[in-house]
């Protein structure tokens, strides 16, 4: 009897230890760059669902409407790209005329911790040594404004993302261009209250006020009632925070 109990205990201990070792193995595996290869392998074996079935379920009219909308959005993006190019060339010409030299006023930092590793809307970056940048400096990735430096540590810094729940940021949106406050909703989402007179469409760019080139996000939806003086605009950041590896920190002038 005692022998049986001892054998059962040793079996339970073995299973527990094996389980704990499996947990440790998974933690170590997903803490190394090997995790990226595993994700790529999974994506190859089970690729994300395509939307063919969804499109086939739509009526002809709905399909035509969708294509027209997409074409309009594409035309707007093309127009904005041309406009941006013109402004950029004009800026270069003006700089040349004024003999103003262009200095790279940003530094690149590596992201150590990002959502969803943290439940806060923050990034932990590896450049925090004194004198390089200060609290309040803007962090951006590929022309997209992400947040501001919230605190500096020894070799690290915390970036508070603009989408931190309740955080308020001045942005430029719509036609005619208006400056409104974007309220962070968490996870790269924002909510704006814009006067009804300002025309806003889906996928319109929302830019950071005071910086002509930095994009905060694109309009994902507009909710408006005819009786209200303002409309609620929902904006999404165009980058996935979980994919950020390197970001730029714009230094204070």
């Amino acid at each position: 009897m005692k022998k049986m109990e001892r054998s059962r205990d040793s079996k339970a201990t073995f299973i527990k230890t094996a389980g704990a070792l499996a947990v440790l193995g998974i933690v170590i595996l997903f803490s190394t760059p090997l995790a990226v290869r595993i994700r790529a392998l999974v994506a190859t074996i089970a690729p994300p669902k395509n939307t063919d079935a969804e499109l086939q379920a739509l009526s002809k009219d709905a399909l035509i409407a969708r294509v027209t909308n997409d074409e309009d959005a594409l035309n707007r993006v093309k127009y904005q790209a041309v406009l941006y190019d013109m402004v950029s060339k004009e800026n270069a010409a003006l700089r040349k005329a004024a003999h103003a030299t262009f200095s790279p006023d940003f530094i690149t930092a590596r992201v150590i911790v990002r959502p969803p590793q943290t439940m806060y809307d923050t990034l932990l970056i590896d450049e925090g040594s004194a004198g390089e940048f200060a609290e309040g400096d803007i962090a951006a990735f590929d022309g997209v404004a992400l947040g501001r430096i919230a605190s500096l540590g020894e070799g690290t810094a915390i970036v508070e993302l603009f989408s931190n729940p309740g955080a308020q940021t001045d942005v430029v949106i719509g036609a005619p261009q208006s400056i409104v406050v974007a309220k962070g909703m968490g996870g790269g989402a924002f909510e704006l209250s814009v006067p009804q007179g300002v025309a806003i469409h889906a996928n319109d760019p929302v830019r950071l006020s005071g910086s002509a080139t930095l994009l905060l996000g694109t309009v994902s939806g507009v909710s408006a009632k005819e009786t209200d003086a303002s409309q609620t605009v929902y904006v999404r950041a165009p980058v996935s925070y979980s994919d950020l590896d390197f970001i730029d920190i714009f230094l204070h002038p």
């Binding site: 704990a20 439940m119 309740g166």
Partner: protein, 84 residues
């Protein structure tokens, strides 16, 4: 042995894996009779690494500490109820 392995897993996961994975490992560690203080300290470290005041929560910046302390308290309560 099991407890030590889970403790190492918890420590590594704090800085490398999503917070909910750390949370799961903390539950496993506590269910194996791990120290409640260690889990609370883990929460505090997570807050020190990445917390900023959240305006929606009146500037509160200790979400992990509260969450992990609640886990630890729940584990202590359950342990007391089950073994006494």
């Amino acid at each position: 042995m099991t407890r030590a392995i889970l403790l190492i897993s918890f420590a590594i996961s704090i800085v490398t894996l999503p917070w909910f994975v750390s949370c799961g490992i903390a539950i496993l560690y506590l269910s194996e009779g791990g120290s409640a203080i260690v889990v609370g300290i883990g929460g505090l470290i997570l807050d020190m690494i990445s917390a900023v005041p959240i305006p929606h929560l009146f500037g509160f910046a200790y979400l992990y500490t509260v969450l992990f302390c609640m886990l630890a308290l729940a584990a202590l309560y359950l342990r007391e109820q089950l073994f006494e």
